[in-house]
């Protein structure tokens, strides 16, 4: 629907809510990139900035929810308008969770800085983070452009991310068995990997909202979940 409402204020309200969610997406992307960078380079200052930045993300979500509540109460949106409001709220919730994970990565960076390096770990985590941040970027692009194909693609890539996580899990298991001194850092790194994988789930959730927004229905097939670690949640 690209024709305007008879009530122009309705259009302004809808556009404002969508602009906020896009801005929130930008902040979360940056937080994740910075958190991954901080982890990779053991940059504690950068990690501290990521932690501090989470407040702004949270308050954006609050503002989005307030505006959406008003839209629902005052304008009684239906059809595509209703889906726009609902998806804005759901995407904002996913982004808020992804922001929390970025903050958690940053916290663990400080803890890891005191521990011995685990050979090969930073490379695998870097690749995982790269894939997940790209998923989120694409999910947000798909949202902005209402791009079904890109959204479907993001959904598919979550499978690869799950597989990357599974192999990282096995890698860490091997290290821990071979050298118990790596148990401390490996536990942290494992949480880090798990949290990045969860961000992938949220990027997928955003992509699914795009599909709902455009088609009016969520994808019916259960998203293939590959978890061979036996720790699946």
């Amino acid at each position: 629907m690209n024709t305007a409402h008879i009530l122009t204020a309705f259009d302004r309200d809808l556009e404002a809510a969508q602009a906020l969610v896009v801005r929130m997406g930008g902040l979360v992307e940056t937080a994740l990139l910075d958190a991954a960078e901080a982890l990779d380079t053991r940059d504690e200052d950068l990690a501290a900035r990521v932690r501090a930045g989470d407040k702004a993300i949270d308050s954006l979500e609050d503002e989005i929810n307030t505006r959406c509540a008003l839209l629902l109460a005052l304008r009684g949106p239906t059809a595509g308008d209703l889906r726009t409001v609902l998806t804005v709220m759901k995407i904002a919730a996913s982004l808020e969770r992804a922001g929390d994970y970025a903050k958690n990565l940053a916290k663990r960076t400080s803890a890891l800085a005191q521990m011995p390096q685990v050979p090969g770990a930073s490379g695998s985590i870097r690749r995982l983070a790269k894939a997940v941040v790209q998923m989120l970027t694409d999910a947000l692009d798909a949202y902005i452009r209402r791009d079904l194909k890109l959204a479907e693609d993001v959904r598919r890539r979550d499978r690869d991310v799950d597989q990357m996580y599974n192999s990282i899990f096995r890698e860490f298991l091997t290290h821990m068995m071979e050298d118990p001194r790596t148990i401390g850092p490996c536990m942290h790194l494992h949480f880090i990997a798990k949290n990045i994988e969860r961000v992938g789930d949220h990027a997928t959730a955003v992509a699914e909202q795009v599909i709902y927004l455009v088609t009016g229905a969520l994808p019916e097939d259960e998203r293939p979940k590959v978890d061979s670690t036996g720790t699946g949640t």
Partner: protein, 265 residues
């Protein structure tokens, strides 16, 4: 406190009550209704929505042959009620209208007592043999219209002395009194305040346990609240007909979406 708004429930029925096919209506040169085909469920509320002049009332009036009374109107196509053609020459339109009752936009009680308003239909159709039976029909009709408790002590008072919402429920009681199977309502709440509207909506939700209800409404929210099926009319065409939830969350036709989201009047 109970919420007075009707709740959206599953459609309890899959039985067709009315089946209309290729219905066309002309008023002189004005082609007001174009090729409308629709199946209306028994024991469900069907809402007709669409901009003014799109033909909602015209189609509603086809369903009980009220258009017969409009000199310039020409109706063609087929309308079956329980499989029987209501335009068959052997059908008595007066009998038909007892089976397919109608409630209008403005409450229009007769200038008579509350009792007589309800008793009028059963009397002229000879539905009762004595006053005891008539009393019974009056009471049960007023109960079905959720008005009995408010008027049982003043059945002799004038129907026109009731509040607007009560008058509309009195008209519903009057329509119900002849034992109809279908109730047609043409914007029944447009002259009522929000409380009276909520009461009538609640009533409609109850009526659908016994009747097939068809309601024309200008309030999109009302259609969404009270109906299980919604038909969207535009310029004399039936554009889209589907489950109400579908129409209001994911309409298929861009004209439906434009209308219900407030983009075309």
């Amino acid at each position: 406190m109970d919420d007075m708004r009707g709740t959206v429930r599953d459609i309890g029925s899959t039985t067709m009550k009315i089946s209309a096919s290729d219905v066309q209506v002309h008023y002189g040169q004005n082609h007001a209704l174009k090729d409308v085909s629709v199946d209306i469920l028994d024991r469900a509320v069907t809402a007709f929505i669409g901009p003014s002049g799109c033909g909602k009332s015209t189609f509603l009036r086809c369903l009980n042959r009220m258009n017969d009374t409009v000199a310039s109107a020409r109706v063609s196509g087929k309308i079956l009620l329980d499989g029987e053609d209501i335009y068959d020459p052997r059908v008595d339109p007066v009998q038909l209208r007892a089976k397919v009752g109608m409630v209008f936009q403005k409450p229009n009680p007769f200038p008579k007592s509350i009792y007589d308003n309800v008793a009028y239909g059963p009397k002229i159709h000879g539905l009762t043999r004595n006053t005891a039976e008539l009393d019974e029909i009056v009471e049960s009709s007023l109960r079905k219209a959720a008005l009995w408790n408010e008027v049982k002590d003043r059945l002799d008072a004038a129907g026109t002395g009731l509040s607007g919402g009560q008058q509309q429920r009195l008209c519903i009681a009057r329509a119900v009194a002849t034992g109809p199977e279908v109730l047609l309502m043409d914007e029944p709440c447009s002259a009522l305040d929000p409380i009276a509207t909520a009461q009538v909506e609640e009533l409609i939700d109850e009526l659908r346990n016994q009747f097939s209800v068809v309601i024309v409404t200008h309030s999109m929210q009302q259609a969404a609240r009270v109906s299980q099926k919604t038909a969207f009319f535009h310029l004399g065409n039936l554009v889209e007909y589907a489950d109400t939830t579908e129409i209001f969350t994911n309409p298929k036709d861009p004209r439906t979406e434009a209308y219900i989201t407030g983009r075309i009047g």
